[in-house]
């Protein structure tokens, strides 16, 4: 069954460092998403991406965050200067078309900021 692949599964970084989380969405999917889940809290929407640009973003997705699709397969989330409160599980998700199909989630990347 097609799946969304995320790397790394766990990253530990120092506060102020840049982090790049990588995702390979399902190959025929067109819409890509990043969600965040702080330990013990709800899953929160960060950003959606379609046609090589951001289609929506939440208030969490500030100037420290950026997304990119550098080639035809990878979808990355960059955090420029990490803060302690960025520690969370970051989920990538994708779907084929807007609304009509469910999101398929990756297994997540756990980010720990020290």
């Amino acid at each position: 069954e097609p799946e969304v692949t995320q790397t790394p599964s766990h990253q530990v970084t120092q506060m102020g460092q840049e982090v790049i989380l990588r995702c390979v969405p399902i190959s025929n999917h067109l819409y890509f998403y990043w969600y965040r889940q702080i330990l013990g809290q709800k899953v929160e929407f960060l950003v959606s991406f379609y046609n090589n640009e951001i289609s929506e973003k939440s208030e969490i997705f500030d100037d420290q965050f950026s997304v990119e699709r550098p080639d035809g397969s990878n979808f990355t989330l960059k955090i420029r200067s990490t803060k302690l409160e960025d520690s969370a599980m970051y989920f990538c998700a994708s779907r084929a078309v807007a609304g009509a199909n469910v999101l398929t989630f990756g297994a997540g990347s756990r980010l720990t900021v020290l």
Binding site: K42, V43, F45, S48
Partner: protein, 111 residues
């Protein structure tokens, strides 16, 4: 502001019990409601509901949407320890590309 509220937040039952999880929502331009199961990591899809009153069923799990009450329930009959997970409810709206999640219900099924 769009809201998705799940209850209870936490539930402990014994194997064989039946559970009902609730999700209520306040959103504009409702499109669909989805249930996901989250065990260790990624949420996995259970049901998508768009029409009121039509029950969706998969094995011991079933779910139904009530658009008048702006809510949905997820039922699990004859629970097993493998049903222990966080059950997430999410709502999609028209003209918006994201999904809004509730806080989840943590279900623990004891042997």
């Amino acid at each position: 502001e769009d809201k998705v509220v799940q209850s209870p937040l936490s539930l402990v039952v014994h194997e064989g019990d039946t559970v009902t999880l609730n999700c209520s929502y306040e959103v504009t331009n409702f499109r669909s409601l989805l249930w996901y199961k989250q065990e260790k990591k990624a949420p996995t899809f259970l049901f998508m509901l768009t029409s009121s009153g039509i029950e969706k069923k998969s094995g011991r799990l079933s779910s139904i949407l009530d658009k008048k009450e702006l809510s949905s329930i997820l039922n699990i009959t004859a629970t097993q320890t493998g049903d222990s997970a966080i059950y997430l409810c999410a709502v999609e709206v028209y003209n918006n590309n994201d999904m809004r999640f509730g806080a989840g219900t943590r279900l623990t099924v004891k042997p």
